[in-house]
Symmetry: C2
Subunit: 743 residues, 2 copies
């Protein structure tokens, strides 16, 4: 990709010089000018073809502007020739977005990238057919500067981000050009592009821009200085037969005199490309030899094909490396991130650059600053945003840690101290006689992999003696009723063997999912049955229950199990009545995952303590927050530092993560940025508001992302046992062909 | 600060317009041109003064270039007047660094910032004396574009970073100017500057740059479009009496016609400043009301003065907000980060921008990508760098997690599985009968705050029932001998009550610290005594010892206690002989903290498992790595996924952290970037090589950072009980005035 530090600094001459070098070196070259303005008076493809002895062709959009019929579809290009193509063109000699405003013919970024992908793939496959062992290269020349608008009006450097092609930056050799060149490079860096060459034409020996750039970039960048190309004589560009450009004597002399430099650049680009391909080709082996992946049986990975080699991500897609099975020809193909990178991703491709900005700015302004007794804006602002959103109405304090597991360990320490204080356990004089404290939780709960978080869940293969010899399940783990749609009908199913008392029907049917969440169920027979059952179980606990810990509404890692909200509400209220602190682990369920800012809001119960992570930083870096009520916070106030909560990590409240989280929370909750929110701007889409048809105004909830009719249809499939959809989550329980079960 | 998107786009006219607006609005204004080239023919200060009815003055450096004596030192400026000052000047009309090369008079970035601080402080205090209730403002106009070189040759935007003044960006209204303006803004953002106004002169109605910029930046930026100012007639600038600039009719007309826009900008800047000050002024209260700091007794923080409000960091300094006790006038002052932000900081001010680049690029290219069974460059490259440095010669695998505490939890799981396999414990048929496994560790050890890491240390107030009711010390915790300098002499002191057997002298003196680390001590009487003692203690353990966990060489959180390396080596070897896996927790000691890439290297013992964090990411974001031998890795290979290590976090191996860590490790180990390494480049400083005077070549170790004579002098102070210095660490144990003890 040929980028410019500015307009009018000779990008096309550089492309032409490179094309000529390619022609000399028997490198087959495709030159693409995706967006040409001032056409056909200006036609960069013509100039490039003229300088390199190549041919010109025009895609339909551009060809339509030519006064006479375009040349025939180009024949199969000869091996080692140059083909220069113009894809989209406008007549006005201005920025493409302005030209679109004047002339129409709008092109979206997606159309632009799709067409480029198609052109590049077609070139690659034609080349492979007739000359696969010879080198080939494609040059894609941008218009104006790196951040000049694309036809869509978005910045070019944003528009081309899905392709992430390696670049040549054409620098500015004039006074001020050092700055322009460095800033242009930084705009590319901020979007994850690789640039390994800066080439610039220096008109005056006074400025020595190349020298200053060399000292700034150091050995990581090839800096090539060229003499300025004398301006063509005034007047219209000379054109040859068929409108083709003609190379004047000055230009020819410049092209000839700069051969060594262009040969060097070409060789450098080829070498960089080879290095990149070699690195991608060896990445799977290197990873298999050196990495130890979590939750992965390495012995089963002998087949390298199972390793995903990701060159980059853009939006919801990874660019994944693969080698053609027969020819070993390397390619990158888009692959959908079906695991939302393990439940952390909440940004569209368009909003990812905002997250990058927030992180870069946070890193530059703060780096890291020790957190205790220090106030810096991102940490303070994030606390405020959390207390006013997920913590609204109940939380008083925000405690930061590094991940969901540490957030839960902190929550347990908070709950236990509060409980001990409330129940007069552990006063100084009686420390030796403190009973073992238990939690009350649910079967299939999951709160993280550190020992404290593990001890708060029921036994499973994840915490058996092979994995966690120090594990002991320190809790009463209840078996909850779950909610799902079976053959088109929403229903609550009681748990199997352990839980249901005899007076609870095994299955209760509901007309809709909303009916399951309805507060009208409070006081129902089922509610009474839940209460009796839960009270009995709490009474029967062999140890004091010092905390209730739940994933509200949906158990994520335990199998996307939607728990009957009435049951969880009943349990939480029963604990509250006994002065047992209630912890909501919202690491998975929080921050609009289920359609509301918190799952607590859906349950209609506020916790005493709640944990947030995953989506918190918008899918970038680890950060977690544990929120607590004033009563919990006050349990740690005292005369001695030993009464304080003595838990922390070196990067507690790190400014980079807090900066990312502030940006993420602002984006999630802003209907002008988040198109999935029901809001005035989305009035036209109110049919998918979860409160439809009642919702007349903007309710601020996440729109229904799953089509109700489609969900029902899935549930009716003979191989589907049950379905659950809520917020961003859709889960289907399959009927295995050979009997048995499994999610 | 007035920044330019390019040179020649009217920065000085914008300054002049703002100065005129200030004069109109009774705002006292100091205009500073820190660096002026082409002087005195060009003198931006003169133009600004002429346009605003202000006065000009010159600091000594610039005054020396005037043909006649400079005016007298400026009188006390009148209230609400404009004073325009030139600080440094060169005659050549080129970039400052080029002018320095031609004319000399070099100025370092430090000198530049110091003088600017002095000028600003002097202005502020004079203003406070005579007009403290009236508004005042300082404008500092840069030279060229944002990334144009300063006189030092480094970029201006880097040179001024310690000041982090809020900025006005003068945009480029020409074709290509959208890109130039956006890229310039991004260079400022990448360095943590705040820019809230873009003002640009638009020469042609065709380009509509302001409109495009408004659509890019949205409401977070005020965009002001001005008409272009007609060029002055050709020829030398007209000058008035005493060389003062004269405002020609065109310019006067432009100044007059743009009054409303400049009034708007001035009001906006004042409002932004007030917002910033208000935010800083309220930060301590907001933090005290909403945050829950780790390790902090909030009840003791009633006094707001104890809260540090940090506006930013640069190098080892925070910019800390304070309000004058009497006048409440706000200011920011540099404050040394004496806790190295809790032991995470390893970068100089000059290298922090490289870390920002690495983080921004990592965020842009990858965001986050699910880690299991995926290979992406930063994770693969970091593993390679770790295995070739700290893991050299022993480690085979790298497992990533989020912080030191999780890295230790992972290490314990690794060790236990290895031990169980080696000792035939926990085969499927006998799971119920698995004995409780213990670790062997040291008193005062510390490995993190999650439960598993806590269970691996001896009882302390940090894990008592108030803090961690689930804690149980599952280990044999030995009391080790420690090393320190007492009154000028290095000595090994045996531990107090519990440990020393009768045949070990309580204190052994050594001629130097190197003698304590010498391998000549192997086989000594003390070595034999250590061995007998340790073997006896291991034999006496009531539970199977399944892991040995140590902070090698130095116990950090436990009080900067240097443990006798001979003792730790003896213990590790005894465990190795019994097939007990050895874990080194190098979260604090690793990565050059103690002068070598790992403390293990200093001990001369390789672990089976080791943990790294803190310095790993160069002081930016949380990331940890647990390294393991092939034998440990193989203990998790098996037919079933249930044999795999089932531990992970959502952001495991996150690309942003790995990108930062790759950059940090490369910087730490590169003698051209890390001036603290003994290397060819530092030959002149070999006197401070820790191997001096024997070190003839570059040994690659960290230079001695603490002067030996000074350390000895500290140890001789009557109130100092002992001193320890090693690598980057200096610790002094004080004799408290009233008796008792404490580190």
């Amino acid at each position: 990709m040929v980028w410019g530090a500015n307009t009018g600094i000779g990008k096309t001459l550089i492309s032409a010089g490179l094309a000529a070098a390619a022609a000399r070196s028997q490198v087959e070259l495709l030159y693409l000018k995706p967006v040409q303005t001032g056409f056909p008076d200006s036609c960069d493809a013509s100039l490039v073809a003229a300088c390199s002895g190549g041919r010109v062709s025009y895609a339909e959009h551009a060809a339509a502007l030519l006064s006479k019929q375009p040349p025939d579809k180009p024949a199969q290009p000869d091996a080692c020739s140059v083909l220069a193509r113009t894809l989209f063109a406008w007549e006005a000699p201005t920025s493409p977005h302005t030209a679109v405003a004047l002339e129409g013919r709008a092109i979206t970024d997606g159309q632009l990238c799709s067409l480029l992908r198609a052109e590049l793939n077609s070139f690659a496959s034609k080349h492979a057919q007739h000359a696969q062992h010879l080198p080939a290269m494609a040059l894609l020349e941008t218009a104006g500067g790196v951040a000049s608008p694309a036809p869509s009006g978005r910045l070019q450097c944003d528009a081309y981000r899905p392709l992430r092609l390696p670049g040549v930056l054409v620098g500015d050799g004039r006074l001020g050009g050092i700055s322009a060149t460095i800033s242009a490079h930084e705009s590319l860096l901020l979007r994850g592009y690789d640039t390994s060459v800066v080439v610039l034409m220096e008109s005056s020996p006074l400025h020595q821009n190349a020298r200053a750039l060399g000292s700034h970039f150091g050995p990581r960048m090839l800096i090539v200085s060229l003499p300025a190309c004398p301006e063509p004589p005034e007047g219209p560009e000379p054109t040859g037969a068929g409108g083709a450009s003609v190379v004047d004597a000055n230009l020819q002399q410049w092209i000839d005199s700069t051969r060594p430099q262009f040969d060097e650049i070409l060789a450098h680009l080829q070498q960089q490309h080879q290095q990149r391909v070699a690195q991608l080709a060896s990445a799977a082996d290197a990873a298999q030899a050196q990495l130890w992946w979590p939750f992965t049986q390495h012995a089963s990975l002998k087949d390298q094909q199972r390793i995903t080699v990701a060159d980059s991500r853009c939006g919801e897609e990874f660019a994944v490396y693969q080698a053609d099975a027969e020819t070993a020809a390397p390619s990158l193909r888009p692959q959908y991130d079906a695991c939302a990178s393990w439940w952390t991703q909440g940004m569209s491709a368009e909003l990812q650059p905002r997250m990058v900005e927030a992180i870069a700015y946070g890193a530059a302004r703060y780096g890291h600053i020790i957190f205790p007794e220090t106030a810096y804006e991102p940490a303070v602002k994030l606390a405020d945003l959390l207390l006013k959103s997920v913590g609204k109405g109940w939380a008083d304090r925000v405690f930061y840690s590094d991940d969901g597991s540490t957030a839960v360990e902190v929550a347990l320490k908070m709950a236990f101290r509060t409980y001990m204080l409330d129940h007069n356990i552990g006063a100084e004089e009686a420390q030796a006689a403190i009973p073992e404290l238990w939690v009350v939780g649910l079967q299939n709960g999951y709160h993280g992999d550190t020992l404290g978080a593990m001890d708060a869940v029921a036994p499973s293969p994840f915490n058996g003696p092979k994995q966690t010899p120090w594990y002991s399940g320190r809790g009463l783990f209840l078996d909850p009723p779950t909610v799902c749609m079976v053959k088109g009908t929403w229903q609550v199913r009681q748990a199997g063997a352990s839980a249901p008392p005899s007076d609870t029907p095994p299955v209760t049917r509901f007309p809709s999912r909303e009916a399951v969440f309805s507060r009208d169920r409070d006081g129902s027979d089922l509610h009474q049955a839940y209460r009796r059952q839960i009270e009995g179980q709490l009474d029967g606990s062999p140890k004091p229950l010092a905390a209730c810990i739940l994933e509200p509404v949906l158990q994520g890692a335990g199998g996307m199990a939607l728990v009957d909200p009435l049951y969880q509400r009943t349990l939480a209220q029963a604990c509250r009545a006994r002065n047992i602190p209630v912890i909501f682990d919202e690491v998975f369920s929080g921050l609009w995952r289920l359609g509301r800012v918190s799952a607590a809001e859906m349950l209609g119960v506020s916790p005493d303590i709640a944990c947030y992570a995953k989506l918190l930083t918008g899918g970038t870096v680890p950060l977690a927050a544990t929120l607590a009520t004033k009563a919990v916070f006050d349990a740690f106030q005292g005369a001695s530092k030993l009464d304080a909560l003595l838990h922390g990590h070196s990067y507690s409240g790190h400014a980079i993560g807090c900066s990312a989280a502030v940006a993420a929370l602002q984006i999630y909750s802003d209907p002008t940025l988040n198109p999935s929110l029901c809001a005035p701007a989305s009035a036209g889409r109110n049919a998918t508001c979860p409160k439809a048809p009642q919702c007349k105004a903007a309710c601020g909830r996440l729109l229904e992302l799953w089509d109700g009719a489609a969900v029902k249809e899935v549930s009716l499939h003979p191989r589907v046992k049950s379905v659950m959809s809520l917020g961003t989550v859709l889960a289907a329980e399959l009927e295995p062909a050979g009997g048995g079960g499994g999610l």
